[in-house]
């Protein structure tokens, strides 16, 4: 057993972090929220070149995967830098189409996945019938393919359009109801099973992403309370502030192993993977949400303003908590962890 990232994985994370740190993602997020996708898509191009969108795609379709550990590494960085766009949903579509291919229906995977990997096509998904799924598709307005699994979900559609973009508590998340034609692109039990797997992977990627969001919130807040003074001393010298941030640190510290535990379970295709993913999603969401609450409280009024960058992570912590399975949904699936 070696439950640790290897040198290559560590370097992959550092490289992505450097790249995203240099990319001024807050500006991209603000533009994205306004519907100006240009700067965000420039970041996406770099992510595609770094291989991020191929991590959940099998080699047969142009990817390097499935590599769930690398997905966890990459999505933690995406969360840390608040990268906008349907990254989690890209993982969901990758797994959905790859599973259909495994079930003997490779057409969609062949048509879409190579382009997903190299950034040539952007995709998103709405899986209302799958655990934690939603009827809304994220960023449908910037995607080439919007996959919708409806019904049991036994029917898979490629949307022909979408409704108006709904504002989210995370301004960078642009949600819309997809519109589907009458004819599914695939149907039957294989769709249902593929959609369930896709939802698991989406929950997993979201867990890694929200963990990164929580880490960024803690880091920014620690930086702020070290310099902000009230009553003549740094706010960070107040014991109540110190203890609240210490608790945040504990929560994030112990959520990390759950995310990687889920990665290992997914890599092994273990039957318990669903429970491991649920545990990771619940713990990472709770830890990041606690970080967000502490961040807002300890920044005071400035943290509550849209113009201050902290807001970009605050909204994301709240939105990702509900996306792809609320903590309550997830906890209901964890009782079997030790069975």
């Amino acid at each position: 057993m070696k439950f640790a990232l290897d040198d290559e994985q560590l370097e992959f994370g550092r490289t992505l972090g450097r790249m995203l740190g240099a990319a001024d993602t807050p500006s991209s997020v603000r533009a994205w929220a306004r519907g100006d996708h240009g700067p965000g898509l420039a970041v996406w191009e770099r992510l595609a070149r770094a291989g991020v969108f191929g991590l959940a795609v099998p080699e047969a379709f142009g990817g390097a995967g499935p590599l769930p550990v690398e997905v966890a590494v990459a999505f933690t960085e995406l969360g840390r830098y608040a990268v906008p766009g349907p990254a989690v949903e890209t993982v969901a579509v990758s797994v959905l189409l790859a599973r259909l291919a495994e079930a003997g229906r490779p057409v969609l995977a062949e048509a879409w996945l190579p382009r997903v990997c190299d950034g040539g096509a952007r995709v998103t998904a709405a899986l209302p019938g799958a655990p934690g799924g939603s009827p809304y598709a994220l960023d449908a307005d910037v995607c080439d393919g919007v996959f919708v699994a409806a019904g049991g979900p036994d029917d898979l559609f490629l949307a022909t359009g979408h409704g108006p973009v709904q504002p989210s508590l995370d301004p960078a998340r642009r949600l819309a109801l997809p519109r589907c034609g009458a004819e599914p692109v695939a149907a039957g039990r294989a769709v249902r099973e593929a959609a369930r797997h896709a939802a698991d992977w989406a929950a997993f990627a979201a867990a890694a992403q929200v963990l990164g969001v929580g880490l960024a919130l803690l880091e920014r807040t620690v930086g702020y309370v070290r310099q902000r003074k009230q009553f003549g001393v740094p706010v960070g010298a107040f014991q109540a502030v110190k203890h609240r941030l210490a608790d945040v640190r504990v929560g994030l510290e112990f959520a990390g192993p759950l995310v990687y535990g889920a990665a290992v379970a997914l890599a092994a295709g273990a039957p318990g993977a669903r429970a491991e993913v649920a545990a990771a999603k619940a713990a990472a969401s709770d830890a990041a949400y606690a970080a967000a609450r502490a961040a807002l409280q300890l920044h005071g009024a400035i943290g509550y303003t849209a113009e201050y960058d902290l807001s970009l992570w605050l909204g994301k912590a709240r939105a990702l908590r509900s996306a792809w399975g609320t903590p309550a949904d997830c906890r209901a699936r964890t009782l079997d962890l030790f069975s």
Partner: protein
């Protein structure tokens, strides 16, 4: 000890209920943190005032009904149960009015209160400054004596409603000097937000709406008649308002009782009845809302009214957040939807209420400060550096 209203009080409740049923707008108004919504909320204040429901506990001379505190609680229950709009005049009615009733002159009351009650003048609060948030005693804005009044200069921030309001009230350092303690020598002054020398820069809150603003003041003239209380005595004037700001008067129990009812309805509609994991949190919010309601009745009967506003502020701010967090968790993937676009459902306005609730533990004195106050003043624990 009883919880029965007198026949007169019951009649009052019925009158309020009937009037609200006939006047509350059927569709929710747009957010009051938008220009359009602000105007519609101002119009609603006018309607309320026409029915004499705008400030029921004020003397009739200023547009009120001279209601008792208990009747005010009852009115608030009916108001929120009817789904009536948020009060754009809240800062004026809840904070400036008690200050004027306690420290103002008769001339000030007669001039200011009726216009406040009708929504003709909407007031913003201008206390905080960039370097003085929780630490209000370190204010830097100044009031300099001039013929017939004062010249205000400096910068205020986090001024709720100031993006669209008409006038503001704030504290200014008027009597600086050696030997004075930081909270001495402050003056409470009123000024127009469109006066010469005033600049207002709206600030977007988390959802981008300009819920507050920065106010830059450069030698803004304020006549003596717009100073509240004795010049230099502003800290005492403001602290009497601080109680109102934190206590029952700012956030009435009826508001949370109505929200708890809506939460129960949401749970019954949204949750899998076979899964009661969230029900405990719903029930907890219900219990806390009921506790706050009963606490209000106890205050009305001569109990702890106003004496312990820090306890109350901790309670309602945490309850408000718990109510809204539970609602968002119940809504699952719909919880993040900040407001309807096109023909999408509004999901009960929980998301905007959540954004509003998030600020509760911060404004009106952070909850950290309130806990210090409870520990020191109510429990008698030693003061100390807070670090």
């Amino acid at each position: 000890m009883d919880l029965d209203l007198t026949p007169e009080q019951e009649a009052f409740r019925s009158e309020a209920r009937a009037w609200l049923a006939g006047h509350v707008p059927r569709a929710p108004l747009p957010s009051l943190e938008t220009e359009e919504g602000f105007a519609e909320h101002r119009a609603w204040e006018r309607t309320l005032h026409a029915g004499r429901w705008s400030a029921v506990d004020w003397p009739a001379a200023y547009g009120g009904r001279g209601c008792s505190f208990l009747e005010w609680l009852v009115f608030e229950e009916e108001y929120w149960a009817a789904g009536a709009p948020a009060r754009v005049s809240q800062n004026g009615i809840g904070l400036l009015a008690p200050t004027l009733l306690g420290h103002g002159t008769e001339e000030q009351r007669a001039r200011i209160l009726p216009a406040m009650a009708s929504g003709e003048t909407v007031w913003a609060q201008a206390w905080s400054e960039p370097e003085a948030g929780s630490d209000l005693a370190s204010l830097r804005s100044v009031a300099v004596r001039t013929a017939g009044g004062w010249l205000l200069s400096g910068q205020k921030t986090w001024s709720s409603r100031a993006a669209f309001a008409d006038r503001a009230f704030g504290l200014f350092r008027s009597h600086a000097g050696a030997g004075r303690r930081p909270h001495e020598g402050l003056t409470c002054a009123l000024f127009a937000l469109d006066a010469e020398g005033v600049q207002v820069r709206p600030i977007g809150r988390l959802d981008g709406r300009p819920a507050f603003a920065e106010i830059f003041l450069d030698e803004v003239f304020v006549p003596d008649r717009d100073v509240v209380g004795t010049p230099g005595d502003g800290w005492r004037v403001a602290m009497s308002t601080a109680g109102s700001e934190r206590g029952l008067a700012l956030r009435s129990p009826g508001r949370y009782v109505a929200a708890a009812r809506r939460l129960v309805a949401l749970w019954r509609a949204a949750a899998d009845p076979g899964d009661t994991a969230l029900r405990d949190r719903v029930a907890d919010a219900v219990v806390r809302a009921r506790a706050y309601q009963l606490y209000g009745y106890a205050c009305a009967a001569g109990g702890p009214r106003g004496a312990e506003p820090s306890l109350t502020k901790l309670f309602w701010s945490e309850l408000d957040l718990a109510l809204h967090e539970t609602a968002l968790d119940l809504l699952g993937p719909y919880g993040e939807l900040a407001g309807p676009a096109g023909d999408a459902p509004a999901h009960g306005g929980w998301a905007e209420g959540y954004v509003f609730a998030l600020a509760g533990p911060v404004y009106a004195g952070t909850n950290e400060i309130q806990r210090d106050i409870v520990a020191e003043r109510l429990l008698g624990l030693p003061k100390g550096r807070r670090a």
